[in-house]
């Protein structure tokens, strides 16, 4: 990740009555990166995105997108000129045809890429004259993505972009995200499909109950997170393994399983000191990291 950031928030919070949707979020999204925004349903991902786009006002804190303050209406409008957003429910005007929708969106952006528009129209097999309300969910998702990609924005914000797409569509989407990033577009997307995230993301942020639990590069996660399964001659003392980097410890009789975000070597050393019968260190998938992180909290 470069030092330059496209999204930066400081103690960003949003409350609805007594409920806190987002709590003191300090988010930093790098330029030219694909950043995945992960979290369970209701974790505050969509609320955060809506605050970034000026649709809702933060209760506290501040933030900038492409250097523009999110709470300043005019700055936010200028920022939206350079940002493409696809919302979770892929909203489109049902009374317009596909062609009318494209013409409507095109009129707001001087840097609209007709070549991308035509290519995607063809690749997605979208019927130009059909009313949007009669399109299938997958087709609507494709049209929403076309509108975002043809903009050729500086920043793409996508909320659950693969929802409603078939496997072929998902594959196309992932490739397009990678090629967009290669062309200098920063991508910030939320998803529940962790396998997809693992394939394309450079960076992940995990949100749980409005708090940012993890902000790390995917490479860093792959290199440092480990699961260590050990068997001892007698039930092992858990406290011996409570060291820096150990996130969770599960013990069942003589067996112990440790999930570590770093310091796997130190854990192995301790296990050997305690005469472990067997020690197995395995890399963990992003899915496991996500599940362990949210479960722990």
């Amino acid at each position: 990740m470069t030092n330059e950031v496209v999204i930066l928030t400081h103690a960003l919070s949003k409350s609805y009555g007594r409920g806190e949707a987002v709590r003191g979020l300090n988010l930093s999204v790098g330029r030219n990166c694909i950043t995945a925004f992960l979290g369970r349903n209701g974790a505050g991902k969509s609320t955060t995105i809506k605050m970034l786009l000026g649709m809702i006002r933060p209760t506290a804190g501040s933030g900038t997108v492409l250097g523009k303050r999110i709470t300043d209406a005019e700055a936010n409008r200028q920022m939206r000129q350079r940002v493409a957003y696809v919302a979770e429910d892929k909203p489109l005007y049902g009374y317009m045809t596909v062609e009318q929708t494209i013409n409507f969106a095109r009129s707001f952006y001087s840097d609209w890429r007709i070549d991308i528009e035509k290519k995607l129209l063809l690749d997605f097999e979208l019927p130009a004259n059909r009313k949007v309300k009669s399109l299938s969910k997958g087709m609507r998702t494709k049209l929403a993505l076309l509108l975002a990609f043809a903009r050729h924005p500086e920043l793409l914000i996508l909320d659950e972009p693969s929802e409603g797409l078939d496997p072929v569509g998902i594959e196309y989407l992932l490739r397009t995200l990678v090629s967009c990033s290669a062309e200098g577009v920063s991508v910030f997307f939320s998803s529940h499909q962790i396998a997809e995230v693992e394939r394309v993301a450079d960076h992940i942020c995990i949100l749980e109950k409005g708090c940012l639990l993890m902000d790390a590069s995917v490479d860093q996660v792959r290199q440092s997170y480990r699961r260590i399964d050990m068997v001892f001659p007698a039930p092992p003392p858990e406290h011996e393994f409570r060291i820096l980097g150990v996130e969770t410890i599960k013990t069942a009789g003589r067996q112990m399983s440790i999930f570590a975000s770093r310091n796997a070597e130190a854990v192995v050393e301790r296990a050997q000191d305690l005469s472990a019968v067997s020690v197995e260190v395995a890399p963990v998938s992003l899915r496991d990291v996500f599940l362990e992180t949210v479960r722990e909290n």
């Binding site: 809506k50 649709m55 809702i56 006002r57 409008r77 919302a87 909203p91 005007y93 409507f104």
Partner: protein, 247 residues
């Protein structure tokens, strides 16, 4: 293209109301011709001078019915917008566009005003053209006065619909509430505030000469201006509400 969107959004409502009003006005002229034939049996080409006040009375009655349909139409045209889009789930597409909320509202209001004017002008032009061709005693000044009263005095109903649709979400809640307010206001003003009754202003009841059924040359400009002033206030309040609202 925001104008185009506003047009696509409202065109079916607008065209339905326009056709209804135009057909109604044409039927009115046909009815007037029928009455004139009854009055001047055998039906002569020249309209009886006795019929002139009767025709003007019919014009006045026509205005009452046109006003009812026109108010229903402009309240319907005032529905929709970004709050309704929130209920339908499309507001995030509109709000992600690089345009201010105030501009969104301005375009929506301007489109609605043009449509409201068309809904006031077209039926009365129809009445004028058909009546003139049939040799009826109709003057352009009377028609223009009816249109002026209708639009100048009645735009407050449109502004009220815009305000309600900016405050109340729900595809059906907002129109139900707006029609409720129209009825309530009609009853309230008719019973306790007759001098300030917008309905009487718009229908011409405040400026009609009961013997000739002609509108006075001195139109109630103060009433029209006051009505327009409240309309502008309500539109400004709507813009403010939309700017402050969270989606």
């Amino acid at each position: 293209m925001l104008w185009y969107k506003a047009w696509l959004e409202t065109r079916s409502r607008f065209l339905t109301c326009l056709v209804t009003l135009t057909i109604f006005s044409s039927v009115f002229v046909h009815h007037a011709l029928h009455i004139s034939c009854l009055n001047t049996l055998p039906c002569s080409e020249k309209i009886s001078s006795k019929f002139t006040p009767e025709f003007h009375r019919l014009l006045f009655i026509n205005q009452q019915y046109v006003v009812i349909i026109w108010i229903l139409a402009v309240v319907l045209l005032g529905m929709g917008g970004i709050v309704c889009e929130k209920a339908l789930g499309t507001s995030s597409l509109t709000l992600a566009l690089p345009i201010s909320r105030a501009r969104l509202m301005r375009v929506r209001v301007a489109t609605g005003v043009f449509q409201a004017i068309a809904l006031g002008v077209v039926p009365w032009v129809t009445v004028f053209v058909i009546s003139s061709r049939a040799g009826m005693p109709i003057s352009i000044t009377q028609v223009a006065s009816y249109v002026l009263l209708l639009i100048g005095g009645g735009l407050v109903y449109f502004a009220m619909a815009i305000l309600i649709s900016s405050l109340v979400s729900g595809e059906y809640t907002a129109p139900a509430l707006a029609f409720g307010v129209v009825l309530l206001a009609a009853m309230l003003f008719d019973n306790w505030l007759r001098r300030f009754n917008v309905w009487r202003l718009v229908t011409g009841d405040l400026s009609i000469d009961r013997s000739t059924f002609l509108l006075s040359k001195h139109l109630p400009w103060l009433g029209i201006l006051a009505s327009l002033f409240f309309a502008v206030l309500m539109v400004l309040a709507s813009i403010r509400a939309i700017q402050r609202r969270e989606f």
